[in-house]
């Protein structure tokens, strides 16, 4: 019986070693260790042995069973690992193939510029004011110190609908309306929007374009406040190293009036093709609100003063992104628009 057991063990171990896969090995397990297997049979046959041999034989059978079991488990682990490896191998993909595209759109570059400016001033406590694009001559001109027949009206040839109604030529009427509505109270607003002028569309002119203006009215607002505010704007919008320079200018609705240049963000001021070798870029017009404008809106210009500024998002976008033709903003070529996907933050 001992010899029989030995043969059995050798045979089992050989078969375990010869198993090529989990299934085969499970077959071996059932064949040798199962309820109907030879080892079980041997244990069952122990009853026939004399009583004194039983413990010895029992121990012997157990040893063989443990040996076979251990070998089987070892082999099983190996085969399982092999199987996993094969599975992994077969599941390998080409990671360089493109991912499933996520459909993404993006904002128009002008919206991008306008929102950036809006957010900057919102953080300084400004509100956003809007108004009609079809305006009364009164708000577009007269309330802004541009009475009928004023020579400065020539600066902005307008699209009239009737003698008194026109497409607004700037967003300043929103300022006039806000002042009128605020009834003499302090104001801090930004007015973005579409404006229209009688221009033939070409690389630098567009009959429709965008403006964004700001207005602050309060007690003792000074020209130095205007300069400080514009300086914050220039640095946030175009970089901390930007310097600003004010030049005297003329707008009927401000006095004094200024134009603001910033040091060129491309060359830093040494002169390049962006700034036409001057080192400076003209960015916006501004000034102290003309007392006539304040008075017309019902403000006491002796007590309350203010400043206003205005700029063209098209120009800023053209400078910032190097766009050479203003018409790109209105043809909506997807090859143009989709370039404004990524953030610059």
């Amino acid at each position: 019986m001992e010899a029989q057991l030995h043969v059995l063990k050798t045979e089992a171990l050989e078969k375990i070693a010869a198993s090529e896969n989990v299934k085969e090995l499970n077959g071996v397990r059932v064949a040798y260790l199962g309820k109907k297997g030879p080892i079980t049979d041997l244990l069952k046959g122990m009853g026939k042995l004399p009583a004194e041999e039983r413990p010895k034989m029992g121990a012997l059978v157990n040893v063989v069973r443990e040996e076979v079991t251990a070998s089987l488990e070892e082999r099983m682990a190996l085969l399982e690992e092999q199987a996993i490896n094969e599975k992994l191998q077969s599941e390998t993909i080409d990671v360089t193939l493109p991912g499933r595209p996520v459909q993404t759109g993006n904002a128009h570059p002008l919206t991008r510029v306008v929102e950036e400016i809006e957010d900057l001033f919102i953080s300084m406590g400004y509100e956003i004011a809007e108004g009609p694009e079809v305006e009364k001559d009164y708000y577009n001109f007269e309330a802004l110190n541009l009475p009928k027949g004023h020579p400065a009206r020539d600066m902005q040839d307008s699209f009239y609908i009737t003698e008194d109604i026109l497409l607004r030529t700037h967003t300043s009427p929103v300022q006039a309306r806000t002042m009128e509505a605020k009834g003499g109270e302090p104001i801090k607003i930004i007015c973005p929007g579409k404006v229209y002028r009688r221009d033939n569309d070409d690389a630098t002119h567009s009959h429709q374009f965008t403006q964004i203006e700001g207005l602050v009215i309060g007690e003792d607002i000074r020209m130095s406040d205007l300069k400080g505010t514009l300086s914050v704007f220039a640095k946030k919008m175009f970089g901390d190293e930007r310097e600003i320079r004010l030049r005297p200018s003329f707008f009927p609705f401000t006095e004094p009036s200024v134009e603001m240049d910033i040091s060129c963000f491309k060359c830093g001021g040494s002169g390049c093709n962006v700034c036409k070798k001057t080192g400076w870029l003209e960015i916006l017009g501004a000034g102290m609100v003309h007392p006539n404008v304040l008075e017309m809106a019902g403000y006491d210009s002796k007590r309350l003063t203010g400043f206003a500024f205005g700029m063209g998002p098209e120009r800023i976008a053209m400078l910032k992104y190097g766009v050479e033709d203003i018409r790109h903003f209105y043809t909506n070529d997807v090859r143009f628009l989709s370039q404004f996907q990524r953030t610059e933050v």
Binding site: L97, N106, H108, T111, E133, V134, K136, K188, E255, N332
Partner: protein, 799 residues
């Protein structure tokens, strides 16, 4: 305004500043210098030549062979100009010279004949054709006889000059003259201004012995001065005068006209010279034109006048359009012997109106429109008389014929130094302010600590205290202004809910894969109302620039579709654009109703993941899904019902309904519309966005996450094809009661195995009770109700 620096130096010392530096100082002080133009263009080796001999070239009809004395030596030069002749003094570019346009002059042979340089026209020296005197427009320029042979042309004829081109804002009419610019430069550099000396000998006869004057429109013409000069010889002006005019952008004509233009440029005061004999009547009457009266102006245009046009007449018929242009019937010509010089003050409104009526702008009208200096009208007339006497040999009759009812008082502006400093946020001393006002030549008195300023009449733009603030600030230097921030009550700032939601809408749409477009508000009357949700009367411009941009849009889609076509024509086959913007609707009010709309247009592939076999074209449901997602984002309930619109596919169009109102339309373009626009299948949306943005969503309160399981039951129904899934869904919901939480279509089959006219729609129903776990029996009880309701509705249960 073109300012010759050499000419400017007659009136003010420019301290030897380089032109570019002077330009920079002027720009920084308030008048933008747009360009600095070197009149010499770097030319050298250009000398006065004397044509000793001039014969036809034997081999070429149009060429002449000239022997030219260029100062000590005689060179042979071939010349092609028709007006070349022996005995002329001409401009010679010698070999080695460089002319504008980088033209290098070399010795050459022309048709076998040697040519040692070039005889030049003024154009070849860089002068614009329109400025070259007519006599020399087609050929070489002939210098006066006294020009010294061999001498340098550039230095002798003031071409060694630089011109500053000033970009004047409308308030600075004072700088539309050389003297005005001299005052500005004088203020910047702290220099005095030297005015021209006027002196001439008067004849014994008086001007009034020849001329009478009537002013019938004193409001429009409060000051009129006429000087009479007789025995004038009309001829070419001397070189210095011609050169100055050309530098200022004025074409020389003859000594009389040139002087009037010269004084116009010098004083900013428009002048006009009449041929006295052509006036015929010895009278000048200024009046408003008679309706329909005619005049032929100097540009040979015949003009029909109306009653608000001011005219100069000879007492009978118009001889000039006052302040705008002279008349052809009284023009100074070569045979003129006696002239009348007119210097007048015309009210700006009258001139602007006339200029606009006749679409005629001149150097004179542009100055009158902005207002001339009342105190220069008379001096300018005297200056012109003295120059004409000097240059034409004429004699000035004594006195003037004059009407004068013009207020020439200086305006007094009183301002306190504290006011100025408070406005600027600076601390400029009183003394510094006085110094600046002195530089400006503003007579200022200090009275009780206030600055009492007599503003010279040349500076009509200085009216109020704030104007003085600007003068002080700009001459003190804007760089000196400190940078501060407003000191006022802190306000939170921010977007209104409407503005905030507009950004949410944009971000959502962009996240959903759409690119934002911006199109024009002006369109043609043909497309203004296409796809409009509510058509109103059209709003047209009074004077459109083109029919394409004549009318305000009532919908966004036409232009958005143009943008889509623009892209597909450039091989971008898949395009998905959205736009938000106003449409313009007529109302009873004064202004228009500007309704903010959202439009979407999409064509081509929506999903393109070809290598994984996923490709999906846009269709109605892609866009509907985007709209549904948007409604969910904004917390508004939208419904869709079958709709109709011109230009849209009749079977693939839905109205969007909110609270029972149609607020939008979604659909596929009609095949013929697609064909007309060269588009493939295109899905569009036009919706009233304002309604969505104005909707106030309910407060967001969480509902407890379910603690009990839900149960699903699927039903497959066979329906008539015309029955809409939406109505079946309503039937299910109504029957399902409050335990029915969700109804979802999960299958639609209209294929071959279906009976004619039928389709199969499968719904998945989810039942759920937040209070307990539902039993099978409970669900079955409700579900049976649903099934029976479906049967009643004509739906057949599919096994």
């Amino acid at each position: 305004m073109l300012v010759s620096i050499k000419w400017l130096q007659e009136y003010v010392d420019t301290q030897g500043l380089a032109p570019a530096d002077l330009g920079e100082k002027i720009t920084r002080s308030g008048i933008e210098v747009d360009a600095v133009i070197d009149r010499s263009h770097g030319m050298t080796n250009v000398v006065v030549g004397y044509v000793k001999e001039c014969v036809k070239h034997p081999e070429a009809d149009k060429l002449s062979i000239c022997q030219v004395d260029v100062g000590g030596e005689t060179d042979q030069i071939i010349c092609g100009a028709p007006n070349i002749a022996a005995g002329q003094k001409v401009i010679v570019a010698r070999p080695g010279a460089t002319l504008p346009g980088d033209i290098k002059i070399k010795k050459a042979k022309l048709r076998g004949e040697e040519s040692n340089g070039m005889i030049c026209s003024l154009q070849e020296l860089g002068i614009e054709s329109k400025l070259v005197p007519k006599a020399y427009a087609e050929g070489i320029y002939v210098l006066p006889e006294e020009a010294e042979t061999g001498s340098d042309v550039i230095t002798n004829f003031d071409l060694d000059d630089t011109v500053l081109e000033l970009g004047l804002t409308p308030n600075r009419a004072d700088a539309m003259s050389m003297i005005g610019v001299a005052y500005e430069v004088g203020a910047i550099l702290s220099e005095d201004v030297k005015l021209p000396e006027i002196s001439y000998t008067e004849a014994a006869d008086s001007a009034s012995s020849l001329l009478t004057l009537n002013i019938d429109a004193p409001d429009a013409n409060p000051l009129y001065v006429a000087k009479v000069v007789r025995n004038v010889e009309v001829k070419e002006s001397p070189m210095w005068l011609q050169q100055r005019l050309m530098a200022a952008g004025v074409r020389p004509h003859n000594n009389i006209v040139d002087v009037t233009n010269y004084v116009l440029m010098e004083y900013g005061q428009p002048l006009h010279a009449f041929d006295y004999d052509s006036l015929k009547t010895g009278n000048i009457t200024v009046r408003h034109a008679k309706e329909g009266e005619m005049i032929t102006t100097l540009d040979n245009a015949e003009r029909k006048l109306s009653a608000h046009n001011l005219v100069i007449t000879n007492g009978e018929e118009p001889v000039a359009l006052a302040g705008v242009m002279g008349g052809a019937n009284s023009e100074v010509s070569a045979s003129t012997t006696t002239i009348v010089i007119e210097s007048a003050y015309f009210a700006s409104g009258s001139i602007r109106q006339t200029s606009k009526d006749h679409n005629l702008r001149s150097d004179a009208s542009s100055r009158y429109e902005k207002g001339v200096d009342p105190n220069r009208v008379i001096p300018a007339a005297e200056r012109a008389a003295s120059l004409i006497a000097e240059l034409s040999g004429g004699e000035v009759l004594s006195g003037s014929v004059m009407f004068d009812a013009l207020d020439k008082e200086e305006k007094i502006v009183t301002v306190s130094p504290d006011f100025i400093n408070a406005r600027l946020g600076m601390k400029i001393s009183f003394e510094e302010m006085m110094r600046i006002l002195k530089r400006l030549k503003f007579n200022t008195e200090a009275i009780n600590g206030q600055l009492v300023i007599s503003v010279p009449t040349r500076r009509q733009d200085i009216q109020i205290e704030e104007d003085v603030v600007e003068e002080i600030a700009r001459l003190h230097g804007y760089d000196e202004i400190p940078a501060t921030l407003p000191e006022m009550e802190t306000t939170p700032g921010g977007l209104t809910p409407y503005q905030h939601k507009r950004r949410i809408v944009r971000n959502y749409l962009e996240g959903a894969g759409l690119l934002q477009a911006i199109t024009y508000s002006l369109t043609s009357s043909k497309s203004a109302q296409q796809f409009a949700l509510a058509k109103t009367e059209m709003t047209r411009l009074l004077m459109p620039m083109s029919e394409e941009r004549s009318t305000l849009r009532q919908s966004l889609l036409p232009h958005l579709l143009e943008s889509v076509s623009f892209n597909t024509a450039r091989r971008s086959d898949s395009v998905a654009l959205y736009e938000t913007g106003a449409v313009f609707l007529k109302t009873d009010g004064e202004l228009l109703d500007e309704e903010e709309h959202l439009a979407v247009a999409m064509t081509g592939l929506w999903l393109d993941n070809a290598w994984q076999g996923e490709k999906k074209s846009v269709d109605f449901f892609v866009l509907k899904g985007i709209v549904e997602g948007l409604a969910a984002k904004l917390g508004v309930a939208l419904e869709f019902e079958r709709g109709q619109m011109d230009g849209l596919h009749p079977g693939r169009t839905a109205y969007i309904i909110k609270d029972g109102n149609r607020i939008g339309v979604i659909g596929q373009l009609h095949p013929s519309e697609q064909a007309a626009r060269n588009l493939k299948d295109t899905i569009v949306l036009e919706m009233n966005l304002a309604v969505l943005l104005n909707a106030e969503p309910e407060a967001l309160l969480y509902t407890p996450v379910p603690r009990y399981p839900s149960m699903s039951r699927d039903v497959a129904l066979v329906l008539s094809k015309i029955v809409e899934a939406g109505s079946i869904e309503n039937t299910i919901r109504n029957a399902g009661g409050k335990l029915l939480k969700q109804v979802r279509v999960f299958d639609l089959y209209e294929g071959d195995n279906m009976e004619e006219g039928k389709k199969s729609v499968a719904f998945s129903l989810t039942y759920f009770d937040p209070e307990k776990t539902l039993t099978d029996e409970e669900v079955t009880r409700v579900h049976e109700k649903v099934l029976s309701a479906l049967k009643d509705a004509g739906a057949e249960l599919r096994s």
